[in-house]
């Protein structure tokens, strides 16, 4: 064994330890650092659900929920910070304190209400079906049979409905709306259970291969999700929603983002969502 090399190694280890220690210190200090001014309102949403949550051509968050979040920020006097999080990761993020609220077209369900607190609902919609153009399926009852394949998106109320009510069908779970639509368009799945507005939009986009069964088979309400111990913010959010509705904010959002849907719903005699 050579003593010189051993001494060099000791020095190397010591400097490595110093480096490690200083890194830990820097990280710890950065974690403690808080910027001055009002604390930003961190809003979680999945930017994959146009026209509610999406990104514009510049890659910036845009859509109904983004406008609503910004209006909420103005009302609370806090800057708004939008975090793009996969839908099934939103509630865990809220619980872990990474975000202050979820504004991501989230339907109120008893299961979710056990994990988070919901504001008053701001939108009413229902589950609808996207089926193949020449499909014999006329209603959701036709799907609850052996050999039927129903596409759903992971974490959505469509998935929960299929799990509880379509027990005879094969359920295909997808991470993306686009994949589920593709399955229906290619005839690999018999139907895609999703919300009315998306089903309407997808049926328009894939008019040669699909059609929409818009009559809702389950009524749903969307609300802003908050932490259960955050009662103060919940009061503020509810007050904001009432005020926003009274001043025609929701009507303006509908006109701006969903004019076609609004007209189509009126034609079919189905009440509009806001």
């Amino acid at each position: 064994m050579c003593g010189g090399r051993s001494g060099g190694q000791n020095r190397a280890i010591a400097s490595l330890l110093r480096l490690l220690l200083s890194t830990v210190l820097v990280v710890a200090l950065a974690a403690c650092h808080r910027p001055a001014g009002p604390r930003p309102l961190v809003v979680g949403m999945e930017l994959a659900y146009p026209p509610f949550e999406m990104t514009d051509a510049q890659g910036q968050p845009a859509g109904v929920s983004v406008d609503l979040a910004r209006a909420l920020g103005v009302a609370l006097g806090r800057p708004v910070e939008i975090r793009n999080i996969a839908f099934d990761g939103l509630i865990p993020s809220l619980q872990a304190g990474k975000i202050d609220c979820i504004l991501s077209s989230m339907t109120v369900t008893p299961e979710r209400a056990r994990a988070v607190a919901f504001s008053e609902p701001y939108l009413h919609t229902g589950l609808a079906l996207l089926v193949a153009k020449d499909s014999p399926i006329a209603s959701v009852a036709d799907l609850d049979q052996a050999g039927r394949r129903v596409a759903v998106k992971n974490g959505t109320t469509g998935q929960l409905y299929a799990r509880d009510h379509l027990t005879h069908a094969q359920i295909l779970v997808f991470d993306s709306e686009a994949a589920a639509v593709l399955e229906v368009a290619q005839g690999k799945a018999d139907a895609f259970a999703y919300d009315q507005m998306s089903v309407f939009k997808q049926a328009q986009r894939h008019a040669e291969t699909t059609r929409a069964l818009l009559q809702p088979f389950q009524q749903e309400a969307w609300a802003i999700a908050l932490r259960q111990d955050d009662g103060a913010l919940r009061e503020q959010v509810n007050a904001f929603l009432r005020d926003y509705r009274a001043h025609g904010g929701f009507d303006a959002l509908g006109e701006r983002y969903l004019p076609e849907q609004k007209a189509a719903f009126a034609k079919r005699g189905i009440p509009f969502v806001f």
Binding site: C2, A96, N154, L160, R163, D175, E183, Q186
Partner: protein
């Protein structure tokens, strides 16, 4: 110099890989490493202030079992098929026929240069639909095998080409046919060389099977994601997921080390 070191031998000397290390050194060192790792993770979990909710996940335990068995079945089928495809690719790349060589080259480069996710979507929704492969499990195994086969083909080719040229000439000199040369000269030596990277590739293949969830193959990751969506218990759903993959990959590592030892001999 040497004597000076010997006089004040560090109390940590047993941590060095050393012929004179005491018998307990390896076990004690393992204990130290595992304790450090556990401490690190315990500290990170403690910082999270996470509210554990194992009951909710326990209610869905059947989904984990179904998902795990599906992953085992998919992986076994893909392991065998990708091995065959890999061996065929390696032979094709050494074939005297030019089109065969070029086809194998094209296949390997196309697969290795594109993400598996894209391959799954293209092969299932476009190629699979055109060929009439409607069953998503059959399609999944085929896609995974094609993906793994390209990498394994290169590993096998490297192993074959690692055998010295002089040995091939010697084999010919003693009158071995090409088949006999592969059987008695190339194969035993190549196998020893390719076992470690092959085991790594097989382990990757098992983990990559999780990507089949994008075409709604009901495997382990898909089920864990569903349980997470139902219960909002991310960690409780994903920790068993990690354990499920370890349960598959650790035995594979172990078998590979055993085989390596068996094929190791003096050269």
């Amino acid at each position: 110099m040497t004597t000076a070191i010997e006089k004040r031998r560090s109390p940590w000397a047993w941590l060095r890989v050393d012929a004179e290390a005491p018998a307990w050194a390896s076990a004690a060192s393992w204990l130290l490493v595992l304790a450090a790792a556990s401490l690190f993770f315990a500290a990170t979990f403690f910082r999270l202030r996470y509210h554990w909710n194992w009951e909710a996940v326990w209610a869905y335990r059947a989904k984990f079992v179904i998902g795990w068995l599906t992953t085992v079945a998919l992986s076994c089928a893909a392991l065998i098929l990708s091995g065959l495809i890999g061996a065929a690719t390696a032979l094709a790349r050494r074939s005297p026929w030019r089109p065969l060589r070029q086809a194998a080259f094209l296949y390997v480069e196309a697969i290795r240069s594109t993400p598996l996710l894209v391959q799954i979507l293209i092969l299932f929704y476009i190629v699979g639909s055109a060929l009439g492969i409607e069953d998503r499990y059959v399609a999944g195994v085929l896609i995974l095998s094609l993906f793994g086969g390209a990498y394994i083909g290169e590993i096998v080719r490297a192993g074959i080409e690692g055998v010295g040229h002089s040995q091939l000439e010697s084999a010919r000199a003693i009158g071995l046919t090409p088949a006999q040369t592969y059987r008695h000269v190339i194969f035993p030596q190549a196998l020893r060389q390719i076992l470690p990277p092959l085991a790594g590739q097989f382990i990757s293949l098992i983990k990559d099977s999780s990507l089949l969830s994008v075409i709604a193959v009901n495997e382990l990751t898909q089920n864990a994601r569903e349980v997470n969506a139902f219960t909002y218990s991310t960690l409780e759903a994903y920790l068993p997921l990690a354990a499920g993959y370890l349960l598959l990959t650790l035995p594979l590592s172990w078998i590979s080390r055993r085989l390596e030892r068996r094929y190791r001999y003096e050269t």
